[in-house]
């Protein structure tokens, strides 16, 4: 039984040692990494789990009748258990490994969507979705003629819950929403929104890419039908991700890709498919990546997701106070509750010029449209700067950021 680390402070000196990359320099200045919403750095535990696997335990899974293959299979399948526990899924076989959030959403669109929808059927998304939760639906709009309806958002950056219930019609087939926005940071009231959808007998897909690394997620409590997230934002390796789906939905869905590993029997006349989750994991999967993902999820759990959430909330509050003291700075996304994502623009200064000055000061920060062009248009900005927090950030990082913004103002202003 793991000792619960709730109500504890994160141990920073230990944390920093877990992330060797953070002791490096960026442009000859100590690296200040504030881009975890884009991709998080990896702790030693993840890197070592993967290299250990390649050095000592490597074999294909679900195939060999030799010891190494059994070991590899156990390590791979163990991640399913770890992820099940992380997001409180009822069963481990409801966890499907994909390459990331993008593939997870594409899987649902192309399997669940194509099998069940016709022209004039409707999908509801919101104005604050990442392109990965917009474009798959637009492709189906183009190809089979579904309609995509968009929940508007308020000036603060919250879902417009007055409009949302009015979007349902008898043709509504799915609601697809982000749990937390990658630009605004807004934590959306998805539990309530899922309940509303279910009252209309409409299933809900949640894009949890931003949420899972930073806050507790319980898919049973939410009662979502699909939940998708990426490994690389969860301090895990790139090319890994998870699709959780309710078992009866997954069982009814046709395969998304086909090949080895996902079949039961094959003759030239007939194919029967393997059971969930193997049905959706065709081909030799990203074995080392999935093992790394398991190590990442275990790492987050060992720190305590509640502790991480509380730590990042305190840091967010500190950062907001500091940033708002800077004349001419405007935060985009002020709705509460929100995660540690700080998008901002400066009067008369372009985000890319500021981004270059910050880079020069050792600060890694995103400048651009963050894969959400409709949202940029909504707030009438071509781009923003975005500082996003991870469990390894602390007040000093924010102080360096604020100093560098003042420098940019002097330098470019």
């Amino acid at each position: 039984m793991l000792v619960k680390k709730d109500m504890q402070e994160l141990d920073f000196s230990a944390l920093k040692q877990d992330f060797p990359i953070l002791t490096q320099q960026n442009r000859n200045k100590p690296l200040v990494y504030l881009d975890s919403a884009s991709s998080a750095q990896k702790p030693r535990q993840v890197i070592e789990a993967m290299s250990h696997f390649y050095l000592q335990d490597y074999a294909n899974i679900h195939r060999g009748i030799y010891e190494l293959s059994e070991l590899a299979t156990d390590l791979y399948e163990n991640t399913r258990q770890v992820i099940k526990n992380l997001i409180h899924a009822p069963k481990a076989d409801e966890i499907i490994f994909v390459s990331g959030t993008t593939e997870g959403i594409n899987l649902v669109a192309n399997s669940f969507g194509r099998a069940n929808w016709q022209a004039e059927d409707e999908v509801i998304i919101s104005h604050m979705e990442h392109h990965s939760n917009i474009v798959p639906w637009l492709l189906l709009q183009k190809e089979i003629g579904i309609k995509v309806k968009v929940i508007p958002i308020t000036d603060e950056g919250a879902m417009d819950l007055n409009v949302y219930p009015t979007l349902f019609t008898p043709r509504t087939k799915l609601v697809a929403l982000n749990h937390a926005s990658n630009i605004l940071g807004t934590i959306n009231p998805i539990k309530e929104m899922i309940a509303i959808a279910h009252a209309h007998n409409v299933p809900v897909l949640i894009d949890g890419a931003q949420a899972v690394p930073h806050m507790p997620v319980d898919v049973q409590d939410l009662d979502c039908d699909f939940y998708v997230f990426s490994g690389h934002k969860l301090y895990g390796p790139t090319g890994t991700g998870v699709l959780y789906g309710k078992k009866h939905l997954l069982e009814a869905m046709p395969p998304y890709q086909s090949g080895g590993g996902m079949i039961e029997t094959v003759s030239f006349e007939e194919v029967t498919f393997a059971k969930v989750p193997q049905k959706f994991e065709a081909g030799t999967p990203n074995i080392a990546g999935v093992i790394g993902l398991g190590a990442a999820a275990a790492y987050v759990q060992s720190q305590g997701i509640e502790n991480i959430f509380r730590h990042e909330q305190a840091l967010l509050q500190y950062a907001e106070e500091k940033l708002l003291q800077i004349p001419g700075l405007r935060l985009i996304g002020t709705a509460k509750p929100k995660l540690g994502v700080l998008s901002f623009v400066m009067d008369h200064l372009h985000p890319h010029d500021i981004g270059t000055v910050l880079d020069h000061e050792g600060i890694a920060i995103r400048a651009g449209h963050h894969c959400a062009m409709p949202l940029m248009e909504r707030f009438n900005v071509p781009a923003t700067l975005r500082a996003s927090l991870g469990l390894y950030n602390h007040q000093q990082d924010i102080d360096v950021l604020v100093e560098a913004i003042y420098l940019a103002k002097r330098f470019l202003g």
């Binding site: 372009h350 270059t356 651009g368 940029m376 071509p382």
Partner: protein
């Protein structure tokens, strides 16, 4: 590499107060340039007669590098022939990608020599030039079909 080498006074000045900014009446070429990844947009108005760029102005929004580049470009190319401009662009492109001035002196455009140290900013420095090239390509086509 200091920041001042990238953001030379000339660039900050033209970025803040671009020259030849605004619409141009009687323009016989109008070309839009767009950098979707940055959100930079530029509309170029050009008057070309007998293969000579007689006048040009621009509108748009973007970072200091892209606005300054457009502004300085309008100053430098005015009165030049289409061929001279093409030659100038290839030298400018060499400058912002290689960081060294080619044999021929680029004058004010040399202010962009620091860009080469920041590869992600090359597209900012060249947006106006690509747009002008597209506008003039149009001219060459028109000329060649007549």
């Amino acid at each position: 590499m200091s920041l001042r080498e990238l953001y030379q006074e000339m660039i900050v000045d033209h970025g803040r107060q671009p020259r030849n900014f605004g619409k141009l009446q009687n323009a016989n070429h109008c070309q839009t340039g767009h950098n979707p990844l940055c959100g930079d947009k530029l509309i170029l108005y050009v008057i070309v007669h007998n293969g000579i760029v007689e006048d040009l102005r621009f509108e748009g929004m973007g970072c200091a590098i892209s606005v300054a580049s457009a502004s300085l470009m309008t100053e430098v190319v005015k009165g030049k022939s289409v061929n001279e401009i093409e030659e100038l662009f290839s030298r400018f492109h060499f400058l912002v990608t290689e960081g060294k001035e080619p044999t021929v002196i680029l004058g004010k455009l040399a202010a962009f020599s620091g860009v080469a140290e920041f590869p992600v900013r090359v597209k900012c420095a060249t947006l106006a030039w690509h747009t002008l090239k597209a506008a003039l390509l149009n001219e060459i086509k028109t000329v060649s079909t007549e």
